[in-house]
Amino acid sequence: MSPNNPNIETMSIFSPQVAARFDALVERYPVRRSALVPMLLYAQDEIGYLSDAVIAEVAQRIGITELDVRNVATYYSMLRFKPAGKFNVQVCTNISCMLRGAYDVYERFQEELGIGHKGVTADGIFSLEEVECIGACCWAPAIQVNYAFHDDLSPDAVPGLLADYRGKVNEGTGPNA
């Protein structure tokens, strides 16, 4: 519980579990704001994006201004300010993946989903992003769907992979479960 605001728990937009995690997180470091970057990512995992309400609560929990939070948040490429799909498909096209056909995989995702870079499908189930190196170069081409890695992909593997995720639409709680 934040010493600055004893009511924060009742006001929190986060689930009790995440709120409790944040209470502990700010106390973990020599300075409170060291919790900022991970807190923003965990907040996004639960809410789906960094909404105004998320920014406001994170600012209050850390004890800095909302502007300061935005200033930091805009630096990090994983953080977003509008909702993504329930399953955010991130296709690496950096050199090692490119050499093994990543652009063909990326094109197939675009065709199957009917969306481009940073697009979201009308049903909100999928979003698509072309991303930089995700550290799976030796198992290229590789993608991440939310946090899950899929290696050694080919364009032909795309429809099946999307079908698997469509089948999981009703599983989990948060957008990144």
Binding site: P30, R33, N71, Y76, I95, G135, F149
Partner: protein
Amino acid sequence: MRGRDRMPRLVSHPDEVKVVSKRFGQGAANIDKYIELGGYEAAKKCLVEGAEWIINEMKASNLRGRGGAGFPTGMKWSFVPKQSAKPKYVLVNGDESEPGTCKDHLIFLHDPHAVIEGTIIAGVAIGSKTGFIYLRGEYRYLIEIMEKAVADAYAKGFLGKNIFGSGTEFQIITQSGAGAYEVGEESALMESLEGKRGIPRIKPPFPAVVGLYGGPTVINNAETIATVPHVIAMGGAAFAAIGSARNGGTRLFSISGHVERPGVYELPMGYNLKKMIYEVAGGISGGRTLKAVVPGGSSTPVLLPAEIENLGMDFDQVGKAGSMLGSGGVVVLDDHTCIVEFALRTISFYQHESCGWCIPCREGTDWLKKSLTRFHAGFGSAKDIDNIQYLAENMLGRTFCPLGDAAAMPTLGFVKKFRKEFEDHLDGKLCPFAKHVEVALL
């Protein structure tokens, strides 16, 4: 599905010398298994022997930083002042994001306790009570593995106020990034850990004197730290003997691109690059021929087949050949690869990742991306080739952190070594190789 649809493929080759990777695939993420395999004995030994002994062993090992710069680890540790009014810190850089590099991925997955043990040893060596292990945000499932390993180490009394019953305190905190290549630069990583934008700091002062929270800080790559317990276990001199002159031990090479058996292979420092490609990684895939190789991650200048004939992969030999060993990410290009497209993809990355603080990097990467995009689309002029070179040359050494150089160096390599291929894109000629001409990016 939280982590992976399947485990990343582990590879092996008879020429490998498995030191850092010897516990891969053996379930050593489990603390009891790690202990059964000899884990945490090195940390206990260090607590008995003390700081000076550790640093001497590290110096004798010739272990050099695996992040890319190759700075001798023992020497780095010895720069930390013994007395300090502010707390000292150990910082583990697991922000692995140099394109072509995926070795730390396997370390966190298969041997997280080696990272913890190495961090403890670094802490004892410099007299620090707190270590931070920073992983890139994309590695969420690996952060969870690290967090579990840290919790298990606390439960056993290997971390905390009285580690291994020695009376010494050492705490470890894991930290997640949120997507930023630049944060792999040591001072930018400290900024990020302090809850700020990852903008590099002006040096000096160096981290060993003024680092995290203003305290003296040792920052090492995750592979370097995971190597430390092995150095202690086998002795510095024995570790040094595995490698080449002034380049101790083994290294995890991430071999990717157009090879038959891509993978992370642990080979002695100084191992021949040609052998690495043709024997260890099984040669060029699809029966094609080698066109070029990027030897140490995307920021290192490209090498031609003739340049790798007798090239030993250590920091000094690759440096002498006009490139860098960098992060050990060996990216292999076959003869069907368009160098202009490859150069464009490389510079696009650095343009995306430039933090924007230093103008030569911010503007230079942007201009280079625009020039190369136009060039690859067939709208280049002969003057553009010189201009690309001129731009890159004017970025070199003119930025606070190495990102500007990391963008300029490979670009210069491509233009100088493959000028003919740039010329083949002139006068509206279609790219002789590629099908992804991104005119829309202009």
